[in-house]
């Protein structure tokens, strides 16, 4: 008679979760090393392509010149002013879009009549590419930051609005009815029933909108000439300062990475209670 070791069936969910976590951790160094190798390979290809002279070397400076230049411009004020301008337009545009989209989304989403009456208009306006509004933005605002904001708000609004509509449509009808029987006011129902259900959708919308808002901010700066990193890139290109231009392009990419990570982190932090974030637990 042997003592039965605790079988699989006694492994509780929390143990499984811890195991899954440790299993994930075990692969980390290998993954990190491979990722690093990937980055180095890319840099090596770029360096070789620039040195071999496939294209005019003036037009494709090697990373061994671009990366030092990036460090160099990162020590001077105009660079950080451009980064600040870009972030202000991005953040302000996103915030305006968030407020407008959540309010209209909840109001329209909660009323079947409004949802039906607006759906054709929404379906028509949503796919209009926001860059179509560039001439209008120039006409109305010139190179002031309002021109950027118009494009950013338009693009980000639809991303968030549609997700809020999905979210509100997902609200449990029984929960709403229960709320009503317990005498919840409209505000209480929105705060305690609609909001928690909609939050995962809203976060998806914000994550998508954050990326789109950065694209539109940079576009406005490149094309219209509102202050920011995009304008600096266009200026460097016009002045023939190609190494600086590549350094600024890299900086824009890093800003994008930062924004993506920030959005994902926020999503995970705010939704730690939600199963879509917890997932991946083998049962």
């Amino acid at each position: 008679m042997t003592v039965q070791s605790p079988g699989d069936q006694t492994v509780t969910r929390s143990v499984a979760a811890v195991q899954a976590k440790s299993r994930r951790r075990r692969y980390r160094p290998r993954r990190a090393l491979l990722g690093l190798a990937g980055i180095l390979t890319l840099l090596a290809i770029w360096e070789i392509a620039a040195r071999v002279g496939l294209v005019d070397p003036r037009f494709l400076p090697p990373p061994s010149e671009v990366l030092p230049r990036l460090l160099e411009i990162a020590t001077i004020a105009p660079f950080w002013i451009a980064v600040g301008d870009t972030l202000v337009q991005w953040g302000l545009g996103l915030a305006i879009a968030l407020v407008l989209a959540s309010v209209t989304g909840v109001v329209i989403g909660l009323s079947p009549f409004l949802r039906r009456a607006t759906s054709s208009t929404v379906e028509f306006l949503r796919p209009v590419p926001s860059v179509a509004l560039i001439p209008l933005a120039v006409l109305l605002f010139g190179v002031r930051i309002e021109a950027s904001l118009l494009l950013i708000v338009y693009a980000a609004f639809w991303q968030i609005f549609i997700q809020v509509l999905y979210g509100v449509a997902d609200v449990d009808k029984i929960a709403m009815d229960t709320g009503q029987s317990y005498g919840f006011s409209t505000w209480q129902r929105i705060r305690d029933i609609v909001f928690p259900t909609t939050l995962p959708y809203l976060m998806t919308g914000i994550r998508l909108a954050a990326a789109v808002a950065l694209i539109l901010a940079i576009t406005a700066q490149l094309i219209i000439g509102t202050p920011g990193l995009g304008l600096e890139i266009a200026r460097a290109q016009n002045a023939g300062l190609y190494t600086t231009m590549y350094a600024l392009v890299l900086a824009t990419g890093f800003l994008g990475v930062l924004i993506n990570f920030g959005a994902r982190f926020l999503e995970r932090a705010l939704l730690s209670w939600h199963h879509s974030v917890r997932g991946e637990i083998p049962v």
Partner: protein, 258 residues
């Protein structure tokens, strides 16, 4: 019969109200910046249904179409390759993460420098911008394939191309199409601004020209053209998605009903 009228009423009600409001507002207090609906329609037909259709609209749409198709095909192929191999996934992840986060418009000055303002450069920009959502969603979709399905196909000896065709591709399809949905508007944005940045023809170029000449009704009609193209692209996508994912939507409905 009555039901059809109600549906039609809901579909046309709000747009009709908005147009009437616009018409009243522009007639009561004419504005330099906003044409009346009638003016806009006349200008729209005059401006775009002539030589411009062949010089500006169709070439732009062709560049967009070619670019997006290349991006989708390349994104799916590359995504399968990377998604099915864990080491390759780890190897490419940080690089892909960077390129996904890089706002694609900044590539316009770079590519302009390297290739000059040719048609293929514009197609290439659309490809470079539109590929990332498809690629990353394909990787994610392939990675997240149901392990039971994967093991079942292994025990049935389904491997290689057959496995890709009958197990991997269908199970990743919903996610891949979600990627395509994200990539289409990005492709459209790049179609327009690559023409705004440096070009002598195309939709984006014409619209900027109108604005610089203060040809306001023409400018609005250009915005309308872009809006119609965006609407058409979204409609085509919805149709295709419904065809490809009919089984998936059916499954979802069953699951939701249960």
């Amino acid at each position: 019969m009555k039901k059809a009228f109600v549906t039609l009423g809901f579909a046309l009600g709000l747009p009709a109200i908005l147009v009437v409001l616009w018409w009243i507002a522009t007639t009561v207090s004419p504005s330099f910046f906003v044409p009346t609906p009638g003016e806009l329609i006349v200008t729209f037909v005059e401006t775009w249904f002539g030589p411009r259709l062949w010089v500006d609209i169709l070439p732009s749409i062709a560049r967009f179409g070619i670019g997006v198709v290349i991006a989708i095909v390349a994104g799916i192929l590359l995504g399968m390759l990377v998604g099915l191999n864990r080491d390759l996934r780890a190897f490419t992840e940080p690089v892909f993460e960077f390129f996904r986060a890089l706002p694609p418009p900044v590539l316009i000055p770079v590519l302009l420098l390297l290739f000059g303002p040719t048609d293929w450069m514009k197609v290439f920009i659309i490809v470079l911008a539109a590929i990332w959502p498809v690629l990353l969603n394909t990787i994610e979709g392939v990675r997240a394939a149901d392990p039971v399905q994967t093991e079942t196909s292994r025990s049935y000896g389904i491997s290689g191309l057959n496995r890709v065709r009958y197990q991997v591709l269908p199970s990743a399809a919903p996610q891949i199409l979600a990627g395509v949905r994200q990539s289409l508007p990005i492709g459209l944005i790049l179609m327009v601004i690559s023409e705004m940045f440096s070009s002598s023809s195309g939709l984006g170029f014409s619209i900027i020209q109108f604005q610089r000449r203060f040809a306001i009704p023409e400018m609005w009609s250009g915005i309308l053209v872009l809006g119609l193209i965006g609407f058409a692209v979204a409609a085509v996508f919805r149709y295709v998605e419904r065809r490809i994912l009919r089984w998936y939507h059916g499954l979802k409905e069953l699951e939701n009903a249960a």
